[in-house]
Symmetry: C2
Subunit: 369 residues, 2 copies
DNA sequence: GCCTCGTTTAGGATCGATCCAAATCTATTG
DNA sequence: CAATAGATTTGGATCGATCCTAAACGAGGC
């Protein structure tokens, strides 16, 4: 309480307008200096126990609020991150963002979120804003059509960036995602085991890693199974509607495919609906496999077999990687690639041996698995 | 600054470490003062056209990056908002956040997002952090169990806050949401028109506005239809699983309900699955209506009739309201309540007049509507 | 009692913008 | 031609923290 005889200039004495409590005020109240208070706030081991307690009491007494902006101005870090996804309404990204959030919360970080709507311009604008905000780093699912030069730009900006799920440019860069190639291979192998040979891939049209790797996985797996000739990729937007329409076109061909693997679950659900529209039974007349294993997959009829890609875990890994990169900006770039797992449900019937009864009933509906 | 006479003290002369370009540097380059540059940046009409052009050229030439932290320190606004939802993985909130984002983007605002996971403690921690960040305002879906005193706290903090979807405390406060009461009434009326009388409401257990208003709407509508006696509310967590299990219990009763209205679509989809599990036909043996009209609703079998609550639009309204409140902090509090619309699909068959054939086929599956 | 050494605390400079009151420059007018 | 209003521009003070160097302090040794 050492209010020296000189002017302490308490901030709300003079004007009627009440200003905010600052370090200076606390220092005055606790009878120490600004610097000491600052050290206490930052939990420095330099300050003596008694002083710390005293200062903390004053902080509480005056109802002090830390000003992050001011701190960031002088220091370099902001404990702030920018996150860009291209479709936050997609439950897959929702889960991913939840994973990111859970890690950041533990690390005392807080994040800006933007929905790029797959527009590179919008994405660029947000990134520039993030630079102005002096965020410590970025988590980026690049919008479709993003110029790979973006990575150079970010490097010039000296801005750590972890790409998530998709990536642009060429390594080395930081990345967290899942092994789509492996996932598709598992799907193909599963179908082949069930006797399928005419397996079509319903895939994306965009040219980024997330489609390329899936297509690659499909081609490799088909070749490995000696089905190189039967390869067939149908491209289109990765929407429900495309699944719905593509499957109807496909099923009018002859011979028609016995199975489709879809770029994501939305397409797969659309495809199942398309089969019903034709009066066909999804899973029976044509096996369907999706990718992502969103919650809805377990709920469809029949429940959808899907390549589980664990969005929450990917989010967590990406956030952790960003923390590592911020702590050690010069460190070697890392690529965290999770292994997907084929979640088998009931949308893939085996091809019956000839002569066997064609008709099968659905298994009981269930929420499990 | 009045340093020694003549020294311009360009920031990266002396140390090897390259510092960032500041207003001062631009001023020197353009031959004007710091203040003028600042005015140009803020698009003030005070500065002459010629000067503006000159300064903008210098800004570009030096590759200047605006420092929002510094600006916020001196000025009062940060052009920054905090958004709190309790389950970002829920596609409903994803759409809502997308709506918020789209408005903020237009307004040159950027937002912090947090997922409270319905934990008041976690929510409180984030709100305190937002105060430290000096955000201009908050968009809040209060976590379940939030103390209504939170509103007083925020008022003390002098922090504008728009509640979204749910609300705590008593008016006046700013709020954007949907008229759940009306929505449920529409659902009841629809069912009654189809001949239903034993209509159960599968609802939430939590005590906040979003459940209370739904229950209220249900009770009112049932009374208005002369079905006060038939009222029945089953409470439980608003999850798929609860829908799945509750419906199975209900259908074992005698007489059993002919229709259920669910707190949200997830419960409704779960309920349809539960009916299938019992070997019953959803929509035929028991009509099902959901709430929210998430994308998946159109995709189920049969396609789900649902009270559409337009999450994207709610997000937009909430963000716009926040902008208004920030521009005019003292203005009258507003409550923007959107009208829901019953999206009729095929999950509610009429109660057949006795003697009529019991069996009906599903209409063709479709993606439309 | 004096000196050294390590621990704590102080205070001035600084980060990069905005605010504000005053200075300067143009036209315009009596 | 001086005076004046209006349009631009300016410099110093300021926002609230951190960095950095130096000073104050207390304990222990001779």
């Amino acid at each position: 309480m050492a209010r020296s005889p000189g002017t302490t200039s308490s901030p709300r004495d003079r004007s009627g307008k009440r200003q905010s409590v600052t370090l200076q005020d606390i220092a005055a109240h606790a009878g120490v200096s600004r610097s000491t208070v600052s050290l206490v706030l930052r939990e420095s081991p330099l300050v003596a126990e008694a002083t710390r307690t005293q200062v903390q009491a004053s902080i509480k007494a005056l109802g002090y609020v830390y000003n992050r902006g001011a701190a960031a101005l002088r220091a370099s870090r902001t404990f702030t991150l920018g996150v860009v996804v291209y479709d936050i309404a997609n439950p897959f990204f929702g889960a991913m963002v939840a994973g990111i959030d859970s890690v950041l919360h533990r690390e005392n970080y807080v994040s800006f979120l933007a929905n790029s709507e797959d527009s590179p311009e919008r994405q660029q604008r947000f990134l520039e804003r993030m630079r102005e905000q002096r965020v410590d780093g970025l988590l980026l699912c690049p919008a479709e059509g993003t110029d790979p030069a973006l990575l150079t730009q970010l490097a010039d900006w000296n801005m750590p960036c972890v790409q998530v799920l998709r990536h642009i440019g060429t390594p080395p860069f930081d990345y967290a995602g899942t092994d789509f190639e492996l996932g598709v291979r598992q799907a193909v192998d599963h179908l082949v085991t069930l006797g399928h040979r005419r397996i079509v891939f319903l895939g994306g049209e965009a040219e980024h890693s997330a489609t390329r790797t899936r297509h690659q996985g499909y081609r490799d797996a088909m070749h490995a199974q000696g089905l190189g000739e039967a390869q067939r990729i149908v491209r289109g937007p990765v929407t429900r509607r495309t699944g719905f329409e593509s499957i109807q076109t496909l099923m009018q061909e002859s011979p028609r495919p016995t199975a489709v693997i879809c770029h994501n679950d939305l397409m797969a659900l659309g495809a199942m609906l398309g089969l019903q529209r034709l009066g066909l039974v999804p899973g029976e007349d044509c096996a369907v496999i999706g990718t992502d294993d969103i919650e809805e997959a377990a709920l469809s009829l029949p429940p959808l077999t899907s390549v589980a890609t664990h969005p929450f875990a990917i989010g967590e890994e990406a956030a952790r990687l960003a923390m590592r990169r911020i702590a050690n900006p010069g460190g070697a770039r890392e690529q965290v690639v999770l292994k997907p797992r084929l979640q088998v449900r009931h949308s893939c019937a085996p091809i019956p041996a000839s002569g066997e009864a064609q008709y099968r009933r659905y298994p009981h509906a269930t929420l499990d698995a």
